[in-house]
């Protein structure tokens, strides 16, 4: 009798074990504080509510586009949900590597009944893209530069002003954002920037403006570089993602301030890889619907200073989970910060990126 | 290669230690007259190679001075000593041809091209390799490489040539042939040669004098025949040629003679070489070919021995016998063609002369 009980119990355990294995989901993100905020706000509560689901994290978002293409060619998709920036989502969608989603059925409506499509609004920049956060690329500067004689930069064009604000700058090693800022500071009105950039003369004009500070620029390729360069006093002013600057200023207490002018909004969100098997797709869809509802997006802002992509989440943003400071003033979407913002044109860059990138790199190399 | 005279070498109280704790060479004093062929013979670790390396300048002496033609050379770097050297594995430069190898010492002496070529060719002819100048060392046989090494050590007319076990890598036949060649070259050039080897045959056939090394000390320095006939101690007797040892105690001394009693009570007369007083322990040394089976009463020593083993060797027969409890006693019997009736187990009388039996220091 005893033996039979043991065997039965063992069989039962084996069954629950295999059932748990069946719902492993692989989520791909950027690692670091950002991935931690996603884990805290989305997947930990979700796993608490859905015992059978097990989330595995992969920190490969930086190479997600290439890896998804390779997986697609090999016919073996091992990822279920991938965090990418909007421009990558557009490319993945164009390449047929990401699945198109229907906001009305795949995403949750706001608590007041507003449809997901309306709640996300313009931020649904691609048929495949589920927006999550709004972040901005903006400038931080050291507030203790002796040569500046007590002055501090207040507008974007101060970055190009080497006389008033001498010292090294750090800029991203790619044309996006840099050429827009260059044209704005060369006197092109905001609304004409992209039509000017479409022309050869416009491109040359942007690079000529960048030429004026080229010798004083340190070019970065990873978001962590500018905060480090600012902390080491290697540069006095530099562009990076606002969340990185928040961490530098509020968590590491460095003498650095934010320059909220002509900040460029960008989006980060999820895509579901095309070609997932039915069962995994269903489990993924259920998770993503939960993870992008109004409350979850607002929760994420407790852990990192990026704005929720839903309009309905904004009023729910509270205090930082550990620092206890009010997060709303640190959001790129806060009215005080968003007085002069710049809208990143995804469609336009999808068209012109290859060309301008080639010119930009040739210019850099000279 | 018109060297008429060699150089004189003198070691004066030379000591050498590598680790500061043990002496590898203990107080070496040695005079080598010009033109002599001197061999340093000894087992490995006896200090002979170290002595050679100090002379060449590759090892500094810890104490003492070495003189070359009466000039102290302790502070002269190797390349300024003008000493030719033949190394154990020849050390021919593998990336140069034979002719380039030979021209090397002439080039570093800035000799003009024509003279170089002439000297190289003459040196090659001396070792009978006139046609091999354009070969690489790896394309030559061991004996040919050996000759090139000798030619290279001589091509710049050194007064002194050092040879560090130069024949060790050759097979037996070639080794014997090279021994004669080196000997002849030495005789025709008149250079001083210091030769290091652990092979006693080599030492005996080639040298004017042989210095037997052991334990950092020269055990005996003499001509080859003296070395064989009159060993000064048990080590030399044992190291040079074949030797029968009998241990005993001195019971009487009469001038240059002494009487020794073996373990079993047998008493033998011996030439007193290395014993000082009655009661000393001693080792008797006796060459196998000096033992006679045809005994007669007038012989100095007579013993009975039991035949243990017979080994047929063509020109002679080796007989292993038991003499006074020592069953490693060897006797050589010339093969005269007549049937000898020696059988294993026989007990036969043996005899030998007093002068063939040397009373040396006791071996522990």
């Amino acid at each position: 009798m005893k033996l039979r009980t043991v065997i039965l119990a063992g069989t039962a355990l084996a069954f629950t074990g295999s059932a748990a294995l069946a719902t492993d989901l692989t989520l791909v993100s950027w690692g670091g504080a950002y991935q931690a905020s996603q884990k805290n706000a989305y997947t930990d509560p979700y796993m608490a509510e859905n015992a059978g689901v097990n989330v595995i994290w992969d920190e490969s978002s930086a190479e997600a586009v290439a890896k998804l293409r390779a997986m697609n060619e090999a016919g073996n998709i091992t990822w279920d949900l991938v965090d990418v920036v909007a421009s990558d989502a557009i490319r993945l969608c164009d390449e047929g590597l990401a699945m198109e989603i229907n906001p009305d059925t795949d995403l949750a409506a706001a608590p007041d009944g507003t449809s997901a499509a309306d709640d996300f609004g313009d931020l649904l920049v691609s048929e495949c893209f589920i927006p999550q956060i709004v972040y901005s690329t903006t400038f931080g500067y050291r507030s203790d530069v002796a040569e500046w004689g007590g002055k501090e930069p207040t507008e974007i064009c101060d970055v190009f002003d080497l006389e008033t604000f001498p010292g090294k700058r750090s800029l991203e090693k790619r044309p996006i954002n840099n050429v827009e800022w260059a044209l704005l500071c060369d006197g092109v009105p905001k609304e004409d920037v992209y039509s000017v950039l479409e022309t050869e003369e416009g491109q040359a004009r942007a690079l000529a403006k960048l030429d004026t500070i080229k010798d004083n620029v340190v070019w970065w390729s990873a978001g962590a570089e500018t905060p480090q360069l600012l902390a080491d006093k290697e540069v006095v002013i530099g562009s990076t993602y606002n969340g990185r600057l928040f961490a530098l200023i509020e968590e590491q207490k460095q003498p650095v301030k934010m320059l909220w002018d002509a900040q460029v909004f960008d989006l980060d969100g999820w895509i579901i890889p095309a070609g997932l098997p039915e069962d995994r797709l269903a489990a993924t869809k259920k998770l993503v619907k939960y993870a992008t509802d109004t409350q979850r997006l607002a929760d994420q802002a407790k852990f990192i200073s990026y704005g929720p992509a839903r309009k309905s989440s904004a009023p729910l943003v509270g205090k930082h989970a550990t620092l206890g400071i009010d997060m709303a003033p640190h959001m790129p979407t806060d009215p005080n910060n968003a007085k002069n913002t710049f809208l990143y044109n995804y469609e336009w860059w999808a068209d012109y990126r290859d060309d301008i990138d080639a010119k930009f790199q040739a210019w850099l190399a000279q | 290669m018109a060297n008429t005279r060699g150089a004189a070498v003198k070691y004066d109280s030379v000591q050498k230690s590598y680790d500061g704790e043990t002496l590898v060479v203990k107080n070496l004093n040695l005079d080598i007259p010009p033109g002599e062929f001197l061999t340093m013979l000894g087992p490995s670790g006896s200090g002979k190679t170290t002595c050679l390396m100090m002379l060449a300048g590759f090892e500094p002496a810890t104490h003492g001075e070495i003189y070359l033609n009466d000039r102290p050379i302790n502070n002269v770097p190797p390349h300024k000593r003008g000493i030719g050297m033949v190394f154990q594995n020849y050390a021919l430069f593998p990336h140069m041809t034979v002719a380039e190898n030979l021209a090397f010492p002439l080039q570093v002496r800035n000799m003009n091209k024509a003279e170089q070529e002439e000297k190289v060719q003459r040196a090659l002819e001396m070792v009978e390799l006139g046609a091999f100048g354009n070969r690489r060392p790896a394309q030559l046989s061991g004996g040919q490489q050996q000759r090139v090494a000798v030619a290279r050590a001589l091509v710049f007319n050194p007064e002194l040539v050092l040879m560090d076990e130069p024949l060790g890598a050759l097979d037996k036949q070639l080794r014997e042939q090279m021994q004669y060649e080196i000997k002849h070259i030495h005789e025709s050039l008149g250079v001083t040669v210091v030769y290091v080897t652990h092979d006693q045959t080599e030492a005996l056939t080639m040298s004017d004098r042989v210095a037997v090394f052991n334990d950092g000390i020269i055990q005996q320095l003499s001509t080859p025949d003296d070395l064989y006939e009159d060993p000064q101690n048990s080590f030399v007797a044992q190291f040079i040629g074949e030797n029968n040892k009998l241990s005993g105690k001195v019971i009487d001394i009469q001038g240059e003679e002494c009487l020794v009693e073996l373990g079993d009570g047998t008493q033998l007369k011996a030439d007193r070489v290395n014993v000082s007083a009655v009661g000393d322990q001693t080792t008797l040394s006796l060459r196998p070919e000096r033992v006679e089976f045809d005994t007669h009463d007038s012989m100095d020593n007579l013993v009975n021995a039991r035949v243990e083993e017979l080994i047929y060797l063509g020109d002679h027969i080796r007989v292993r016998m038991n003499v006074a409890g020592n069953d490693e006693f060897i006797v050589k019997v010339r093969n005269r063609g007549e049937k000898r009736t020696l059988n294993v187990g026989d007990t036969v009388p043996l005899g030998w002369a007093l002068n063939d039996c040397k009373a040396l220091d006791a071996v522990v």
């Binding site: 586009v65 390729s221 290697e234 999808a350 060309d355 190399a365 | 390349h79 430069f93 710049f156």
Partner: protein, 421 residues
């Protein structure tokens, strides 16, 4: 048995030709040898030969236009780009037919991003047209409907790109890799402000040579010392040489940043000693100097190890022999020791050079703009722009460059003069 008389075929005792019998006897041996190396052979084929073949193929492969727009590609054969007119209604009708199918399969955007590499704007043209295609009138006429969807369909250049890239194979990627393109009059160089790849190839080769030389100059004395020391000591020092292998590449590179940057340790020290002024702090990173320093550090073990293992085999008696023959220290080294260490230099230099020519992480992190390599662009096209065709052609050129250098090396030094130990 068989005799060796002239002209007679040697046979075995039962009359078979001796050569055939020998071959048969050796066949088993050969088969067994083949079986022994089979695992490695298969491994190399799968992991090395196949990917390289695939890469070579990708650099010319261009089936996407003919596959996505088969009818259009066919209809465009008749059209002459030199005429200055857009194609006629027939071609637009074919395009409509193709696009309906392509949109149904969601392939049109993929084609758009492919052709966008050749001409900016085609990506959005296809995306936009794809959205409009369902609303078009199936009955035609199509020319106006397409022009209405996007006026770029009225540009001759759009059609010219379509026609030029409709064959299954293209030289476009390679032309691009040579900073060239195919204009209306044939192949021409790109405008000066877009030329980058030849500059980067040249720089990659130049910096790789400098790095290899730096490795040699720094590594040779170390290897010499290691080979001369007793085994116990040299093993200990060897651990120090190998130590960099055990730390992550990123950690090492970041350490160089801390050391070399303008507010870094070295500059601080120099300012403290008064060798440089506060304003004159040296720029040693984010430029070629940074790349050379960091890469030399990383590749140094690859130079030292083969040098060491070759030097270890050079008997010290050669130098002694040279000295006994009258050569001073320098002559003995230069004429006798150094020539024998050349195979180690060859192996070390080839290793360091090949590794450095393909590096991209370190140049990306410390190279700034003047110290980056061609590999950085290849990585960009693989992982960021997804232009794998261009990446493949750049990779192929790099491969060819390395092979050419190998041949040159073989001619000058001799490939058999390379020894790893």
């Amino acid at each position: 048995m068989s005799d060796t008389t002239d002209g007679q075929v040697l046979t075995t005792q039962d009359g078979k030709p001796l050569k055939a019998a020998l071959a048969k006897a050796l066949r088993r041996e050969k088969l067994r040898a083949l079986l022994l190396i089979a695992p490695l052979l298969i491994f190399v084929l799968i992991t090395f030969v196949a990917p390289i073949a695939d890469m070579l193929f990708r650099s010319v492969e261009n089936g996407i236009v003919a596959e996505t727009l088969p009818k259009t590609a066919f209809a465009l054969r008749e059209w002459d780009p030199g005429s200055g007119n857009v194609p006629d209604e027939e071609v637009f009708a074919a395009l409509y037919g193709d696009m309906v199918v392509a949109v149904g399969e969601k392939k049109h955007t993929r084609l758009g991003s492919r052709l966008n590499y050749e001409q900016s704007g085609i990506s959005s043209l296809f995306r936009k047209t794809g959205r409009r295609i369902k609303r078009m009138d199936e009955a035609g006429p199509f020319t106006e409907q397409f022009l209405d969807a996007d006026k770029k369909w009225g540009d001759v250049s759009t059609w010219q790109v379509l026609k030029q890239f409709s064959p299954k194979y293209t030289d476009g990627y390679f032309l691009n890799a040579f900073d060239a393109k195919r204009g209306i009059d044939g192949i021409e160089m790109k405008p000066a402000d877009e030329r980058i790849y030849m500059l980067l190839f040249g720089r990659t080769l130049f910096l790789s040579i400098v790095i290899t030389l730096a490795c040699l100059v720094l590594g040779y004395p170390i290897a010499f010392l290691l080979a001369a020391l007793p085994l116990r000591t040299s093993n200990l020092l060897m651990i120090l040489v190998l130590l960099p292998f055990w730390t992550s590449l990123l950690v090492r590179t970041s350490a160089w940043k801390v050391l070399l940057q303008q507010q870094g340790v070295i500059n601080d020290f120099l300012v403290w000693t008064g060798l440089v002024s506060e304003a004159g702090r040296l720029v040693m990173i984010n430029n070629q100097t940074g790349t050379i320093i960091a890469m030399t550090h990383i590749l140094l073990p690859f130079m030292i190890l083969p040098l060491y293992s070759v030097m270890k085999t050079i008997s010290p008696t050669y130098v002694r022999a040279a000295k006994s023959l009258g050569a001073n220290d320098w002559t003995a080294f230069w004429r006798v020791y150094f020539p024998q260490s050349v195979p180690g230099i060859g192996a070390g230099a080839v290793l360091a050079f090949i590794l450095s020519i393909g590096y991209y992480i370190t140049p990306e992190l410390v190279g700034g703009t003047s110290g980056i390599f061609i590999s950085n662009r290849i990585a960009y096209h693989i992982s960021s722009s997804l232009n794998w065709g261009l990446a493949a052609s750049l990779g192929t050129l790099l491969l060819v460059a390395v092979l050419v250098l190998f041949v040159v090396y073989d001619r000058i030094v001799g490939i058999d003069n390379v020894k790893l130990g």
